[in-house]
Amino acid sequence: MAVTLTSSAADRVQKFLIQRASGVGLRLGVRTSGCSGLAYTLEFADEFNADDIKFESCGVTVLVDPKSLAYLDGTELDFVREGLNEGFKFNNPNIKNQCGCGESFNV
């Protein structure tokens, strides 16, 4: 079981964590909502939770709760630029379909 970051995503996250001047890592998760059932959450983490599963990827600590990991296993988080817009993108091998904008999905 693993969740990874691309090097461009890791660079960005590290930069943001330094500028934020606090935080222990990045928390990836999944919650039920949205037009296709599930939605990603992407947050800074200020502390570890007891049941967190920790990954190290390109020097960034990634935290995922066990329930979310079932949906996220094998996911690679990428940082991409599309015109003026830039941001993070989940490349998740588990998804069957997603809504038009990709913000929510189901497995």
């Binding site: 949205g34 939605a39 992407l42 817009n85 830039e86 993070f88 993108k89």
Partner: protein
Amino acid sequence: MALLQIFEPGMSTAPHQHRLAVGIDLGTTNSLVASVRNGVSAVINDEQGRGLLPSVARYSVDGPVEVGYGAQAKQSEDPHNTIVSVKRFMGRGLSDLQKTIDTPYRFVDAPGMVQIKTAAGVKSPVEVSADVLKTLRVRAETALGGDLVGAVITVPAYFDDAQRQATKDAAKLAGINVLRLLNEPTAAAVAYGLDNASEGVYAVYDLGGGTFDISILRLTRGVFEVLATNGDSALGGDDFDQRIYCWILEQTKLSSLGAHDVRLLLTKAREAKEALTKHPETAITAVLSTGQIVDLILTSLSFAGMTENLVNKTLSPTRKAMRDAGLGIEDIKGVVMVGGSTRMPHVRRAVGEFFLQNPLTNLDPDKVVAIGASIQANILAGNRSADEMLLLDVIPLSLGIETMGGITEKIIPRNSTIPAARAQKFTTFKDGQTAMMIHVLQGERELVSDCRSLAKFELRGIPPMVAGAARILVTFQVDADGLLSVSAREQSTDVETRVEVKPSYGLSDVEITRMLQDSYLYAQEDMAARTLREQQTEGNRLLEATESAVAESGGALLTAKELADISLAMATLRETIAGDNHRAIKMAAESLNQVTSDFAARRMDMSVRQALSGHRLEEIAASL
């Protein structure tokens, strides 16, 4: 797929519910928009990577309004229709405008606020500002990938009610929901206070394009309190340009220039001023429309000499603010420099000498206000917990009412923190007096005629009593945006009247109608763009579906001629999608649908046959 940003712990939004908020520094010379993304505030650049948007709008007879660098470049060529530094005219009547600068504009004296005649009709400063704001809104929405929930827009601390209301109206016209108006020095303090987390009393010295503000702030544990503000709402970088311009005229003995040449030389003056921030001297060269040639060398020393009194003009409000705050120079822990004009070395030197310390310049003075505003916007939009930062602002000018003899009675003194509510009791002047005129005023002077009139309303139905017996409570309330509402109540009968202080420039019905019509005009442009996008998307979807169907079963089900027809229709559709005619795309899509309709029917038959073959009728009936 939508691109995600990192949120603060527990603050992730539901899909499609991003609380995108921006901070906008609507400046006299340049404007900026900034936003907090992934926990970091940054200015949003345009496609060319430029953060600043010149606050310049150019109106032409039939074309759309041009905003920014493109408009700025045409200043000398088209001075009447290229509006620069419009912020100076916000909420101002023609009589308010001091003759500080030779503007090439054809002013129209409308009630309350001056208007400008352009090739595209008469424009009010509110509309010009709205065009600048709209450009920033579109830039932000493109970069952030969604609609904004709102914006914090900064205004000079010295802006009065009419100017603040005009700014809010401009935002509304640009389709922006104003989360809050924030004083510029307070925004700068937010940017510095959070980034550096240093506590103490600071002075914010903001010399922008057209306004000067000095603010004394106290920062303690993330709380910003404005102790005092002062300034000059008609002093800024433009005046330094004007000095160089006058110097050019003196040196060359030129006079009576046309509007075009005035603009050209003012542009040259600004370029020289900017060059002198990095070089000890600079050349000024220009060819006027009369064929006369300007060729001069300006040294930084003589520039400092000719603008010394302008720099000194900033120091006397600074002294006043220090006095209002009750502080000495030794109490000031740091001096924050804001505004592009603080790049001028002799300004920095003078400020350093005044405060006996080197001013802080570690954040970009052009961006610091927008960045602070975006941090505040992020909190107000609900992306961080609101108790994280409490923001206290002050009233820049005292608010009061007129009493007998044309005297101003102050109810809320200047530098009171807002939101604020104060009440004062008044009484009748004559026996049997049954009505009272409440005249709301803003200003520091004692006489009504020297203050700015904000509103007038009447309290009626006071029971007849002897003079001095009625008890009338007048309450002033100022909300977080610095906007005022006033109520008056006779206490024995509870008769009450209240008024929201409306902008004193008072837009007429005709103006409102015209402004609405203009926004309808935009609506059509917006809708056309939207229709085009929809047709392009639909066309692409159809192309993909046809392609995969042909690849799957085209060989078996299509004749060579049919295949050629379909290919041709697809090529036509592809061509129209690349263009911008949504009707053409729709027609091409329909003709592709037509040439593929037989093919679609055959595919349907084939899949039905495949589903049925090898099954007996009973099985199928049973499964239904």
